[in-house]
Symmetry: D2
Subunit: 293 residues, 4 copies
C-alpha cells in the first residue's frame, strides 16, 4: 500500500483484477442494527483503512506518548510528504500517511516477532468486528512485499534518522500484513462503531477506548484521512473518514452511525469515487454532517 | 498580515504593544443571547479571521466557480505553502493561507477601485455583526502596507502565473484593509453566528448563505483554519475555527453557538495560546465537539 | 528578464519579434584582433549576460565582502531556486540566478538614485567594450517593468528577510535597465576580454580587476552561468560562459580569447541553441576547452 | 557512504577513529614522476572518489547511452537531492551524488553477481593505478552495509520509479564495496592520471578512454564533484576534483598533473578541509587553475 501516485492501484498486482463497478455499503447504527446494500458480504482488501485500527491499538498500548513519534497535521500531497519528512527529521506528519502508519507498526512491534504483532492486530480487528472469521489475504500481503519499494524507501529514510526501533523488514512485514486484511462492508462498519459511540462497541458493550480518545481519532480522520483529498472529503461529505486504495472508506457520524462503503474505482488522489459520492448523498439526506444540519 | 513565521507578530509594528495577558471570550447562542467574559468590549485587530467573511462574500458573488481559483486542501507549513504554490502554478491551496486570501481579495475587487471593495467588505461585516460602528484601524492597515513584503511577494508570484486580475497594489490594499478591521469579541461572535445557524443570522433573521454553504465553510475552517496548527486545533478543540495573528479565534459549534476568543499571546505556529486553551476547556465541558460527546 | 520557464521569451514583448534563425559570432583574441561572422554588427538585448559585468562592478566596489550577500553554488532548476531561497533565508545561491543578480543590483545602488546606478553600469560596460555608443534599449527596459512579476516576487521575498537595502522598485529599475543594454557580438566579445586576459583589457591595457578575481569570476560562470544547463554547457563546450534569454552567450577561453555568440532560438532551459552548438564546434576544433586538449 | 549531513563521518563506525590531523599529498606529473609529501604511503578509505572510476568504467561499457539513466547537472544541497529525485522521477541529477553513483553501480552490475561486478571494479582501479595490491577494506564495506539506511532509502526510491534493474541489496553491495577501496595518495594520484593526460595512462601508455571523454569527465567533476561545495571548490581551487568523506580529494590539472590529497578533517559540506586548502595553495603557486594563470 502506497500513497496514491496514480488513479489505479495496479502496483498491487493481486488487486488489479477487481471489477471497478462493484459497490457495497453498510450502515451500523448505535442500536446495533446494520443496514447493507450491494456487495456487502464480499470481502475486499482493507488497505489503509486498517491504519485507524492500528492507531487505536498503538494509543491503547503507549498512550499519548505515542504522539512524540508521529504528528497529527495534514501533509499536503505525496510529494510534500517526503519533503516534509526530511524537514521534520523523519517524524511523519500524521499516522495516516504511509510513513506515519509504518511508524505505528514499529511501535506495535516493540521488539517482538512480526508474526506476534500481526496476530495482535488481527485479534484486535476481530474483536472490534465481533467476528473471528476475519483473515489476512496472504497473496495480497506478499504481492506488496514484492513491490513495495516506495514504502521500503520511506522506512529506511526514517531509520536513517533513528526513527524506527525495529528492522525495516520486520516493520514492513507487519505493515503489509495489516493492510492485507480482507473484510466485508458489514464487518468494517461494525468494527468502526466504537468511534461513533464514544469509544464503546455497541454490539458487545465493551469499552475500546475513552470517549475523548474516540473524538480525537475522529479529528485526525477528518483532517488527514484522505491523503491530499482530505479537505475535499470534509467539504463534500462532512464526516471523519479513512480511505484505502482497495476502494474502501470508513466514515464516522458521531453519535449516529459507523458507515463502510466499498467500490474499487479510484479518483486521482486515490480515494474511492463511488464511495465518496455515496457518502455525500447519505449525509445530504440524513443531515449527519458534523458541520451542521 | 503574514503566515506566522515567529511566535510574535512584531512585524506589524502597530500591534506590538498590546499586552499579551489580556483575554476575552464571547459566546453567541442561537437564541440571540451573547455571554461574555474578560475584555469583551475591547477592540482588537481581526487579522486573518476576516478571511472567513471575505470567503463568504466571494462565494456569494461568484458562487462555486470561485473554487476554480483557489483550492480547499490543507497546506502544511508556511514553507510548503510556497513550494506548493509553485507546483500548483500559482493556485493557492485554500482561501485561508495568505495566498488564498489575496486571491479572494482579487475576486472581490473584480476591476473596481480598492476603496469600493473595502467599503463592501466593511458593510458586510457590519451587517453580520449587526453593528455599524465597526471600522478599519487605518494605522494597522498602513503598518502592513509598509512591511508586507512577504505578501507582496506572494501576490506578484501568483500574478506571474496569470492568477490575479487586478494590480498587485490594489489587491494588497484590499487585503491589508480587511485584515485591519477592529472588532470586539462580542461583535465577532455575533458576526459568526450564521455559520452555527445554518446560514441564517439569528439576531436579524436574515439568510446570509444557504445551509449547505455554511456547512462547507465550516469544513474549510476545520481543515485549514489554523495554518500548520489546524490538525492540532481539531484534535484538541474539535470545532471549526479560524485564527488571526491579532490573537483572535472564531470558533463555530454547529447548531449551538458561535464563539469568539481573544488573547494576544501566540503559539509557535501563530495561533492564540490562551484562546485555544479556553476553547478546549469550553468544548470539554459542553460536549460541543463535532467529533462526539 | 526571468529564469527561463519556457523555451521562448515572449514574456518580454519587445523581444518576441526577433527572427530565431539569425546568428552572429565574434572572437576577440588577446592580441586585440576581433574575428566576426554573421550578424556581428547587429545589436541585440544583452539580458542576463550583463550579470557578469554587474558582478565585476560590485566586486570592485565592495570586494569579497560582497559574498556575504550572495553565494557561489549552482542552484539546480528554477523551482529549486525558490525553495533554496526560502531555506537559505533569502540569500541567493549565486549572482547569476535572478535573485542573485537582483541582490547585486541592490549592492550597486547603495542608497543612490536608480539613474545614477544605471549610469554607472552603462559607463562600465562602455569602458570594457571601449565603445561609447552602447545604450540601453528603453522599450525593452519598460517592457520588463510592465511584466516582471516574477522578479518583483523574488525581490519582495528577499526584502521580507531583510536582504535588500533599497526599495524594490529602485532595485528592479536598475536590474531591468542593465538587462536591456543593446550590444553587438563584437562589442560583447571585446567587453569580456578582461576575463580571458587575467583581468586586463588587452585593447586599452587597463587593469579591470586582479588576475585572481578574473579566475574566480570565470569559475562562477562555469558552475552557474547557464541556469539548469550549466553542467551541460561545461560538458559540451568546456568553457566558462554566461547566457541570456536574448540569445547571447559570452564564453571565456582563459589565456586565449573572449567569444560572443548570438542566436535567438532557445533550448528548454533558456540558453541559445545555435550559440551553444557553435561554441561546441569552436572548442572541438581549437582545443580551447579548459578540461584538456 | 552518504551525502554528508554533518561535518564528521562517524556514521561509518570503522572510519571514526582516524586522526583528523593527518595529511598527505601526491602529485603525479605527465612525465610519470610522482612527488609526495606527508603520509603518502598510508592507505585510507577512497569513499566517493571511487565514483570517478565507476563512472569511467560504466561509460566504457555503455557509452553515452549511460546518460539516459543519470544527468550531469549540479544538484544543490542534500535536501534538494531528494526533492529533485522525486521531481525528476527517480533519475539522479549527476553520477557523483549518491543516487547517481548507485545508478552507475546498477549499470555495472547488469544482471551479474555482485562479487563479479566488485571484482571488475577492483581490477579496473588496479589497472589505473598500475598496482595489484589495492584491496577493499571489508570491515569498512560491512560497516556501511549495517548503517546505510539513507542509501537504501535512495535505492528503493529509485527502484519504485523503475530506475534500477538489479535487486537493491545487490546494487548496494557493489556500491558499498567500491567505496571501501583502500588506497594511498600515491596510488590515487597515479590512478587519476588518465584524466590529466587526454585519456591515456602515462605510466603504462595504455589508452583508458578517448580524449573527449576525459575532458567531459573533468567537466562533471568540476561542476558536481564536491556536493554542495562544488562552486566553492571551483572558485578557490579552480580544478576538476572529486572528494570523499574519507578525507580524500582527487584533482586534475589537464595537461599537467593528477593530484591526490588526503586529510580526514571535513568541512560542513563533507569535503576535506586541509585537502582543499593544500590544493588552493598549490594552484595559487603553480598557476594550474583551469580558469587562467
Amino acid at each position: 500500500m502506497t500513497d496514491a501516485h496514480s488513479s489505479d492501484w495496479s502496483y498491487i498486482p493481486e488487486l488489479a483484477n477487481v471489477d471497478v463497478n462493484r459497490f457495497a455499503i453498510a450502515v451500523a447504527g448505535l442500536d446495533g442494527q446494520v443496514h447493507v446494500a450491494g456487495d456487502a458480504a464480499r470481502p475486499f482488501s482493507i488497505q489503509s483503512v486498517s491504519k485507524v485500527f492500528t492507531l487505536t491499538l498503538a494509543l491503547g498500548k503507549l498512550g499519548d506518548t505515542m504522539w512524540s513519534r508521529v504528528g497529527r497535521e495534514p501533509s499536503g500531497n505525496a510529494f510534500n510528504s517526503i519533503v516534509q519528512l526530511e524537514q521534520e527529521k523523519g517524524r511523519p506528519r500524521n499516522p495516516f500517511i504511509n510513513a506515519g502508519a509504518i511508524t505505528v507498526a514499529d511501535l506495535i512491534l516493540a521488539g517482538h516477532e512480526p508474526r506476534e504483532a500481526i496476530g495482535e492486530i488481527v485479534r484486535f480487528v476481530r474483536f472490534l468486528a465481533d467476528d473471528d472469521t476475519i483473515r489476512i489475504d496472504e497473496r495480497v500481503a506478499h504481492s506488496e512485499l514484492a513491490t513495495g519499494d516506495r514504502n521500503a524507501s520511506l522506512a529506511h529514510f526514517m531509520r536513517s534518522f533513528g526513527r524506527l526501533d525495529n528492522p525495516v523488514d520486520h516493520v514492513l512485514g507487519v505493515y503489509f500484513h495489516h493492510c492485507a486484511l480482507a473484510v466485508t462492508c458489514r464487518q468494517l462498519a461494525v468494527a468502526g462503531q466504537y468511534l461513533a459511540a464514544g469509544g464503546v462497541s455497541p454490539k458487545t458493550g465493551a469499552r475500546v477506548i475513552s470517549a475523548e480518545r474516540a473524538r480525537r481519532i475522529n479529528a485526525v480522520m477528518l483532517t488527514c484521512g484522505h491523503y491530499d483529498g482530505s479537505g475535499e472529503f470534509a467539504y463534500r461529505v462532512g464526516l471523519p473518514g479513512k480511505s484505502g486504495v482497495g476502494g474502501a472508506i470508513l466514515a464516522v457520524a458521531p453519535g449516529k452511525a459507523s458507515i463502510a462503503v466499498w467500490s474499487p474505482g479510484l479518483d486521482p488522489v486515490g480515494n474511492s469515487k463511488l464511495g465518496a459520492e455515496a457518502l455525500e448523498m447519505l449525509t445530504h439526506r440524513t443531515g449527519w454532517s458534523v458541520f451542521g444540519a
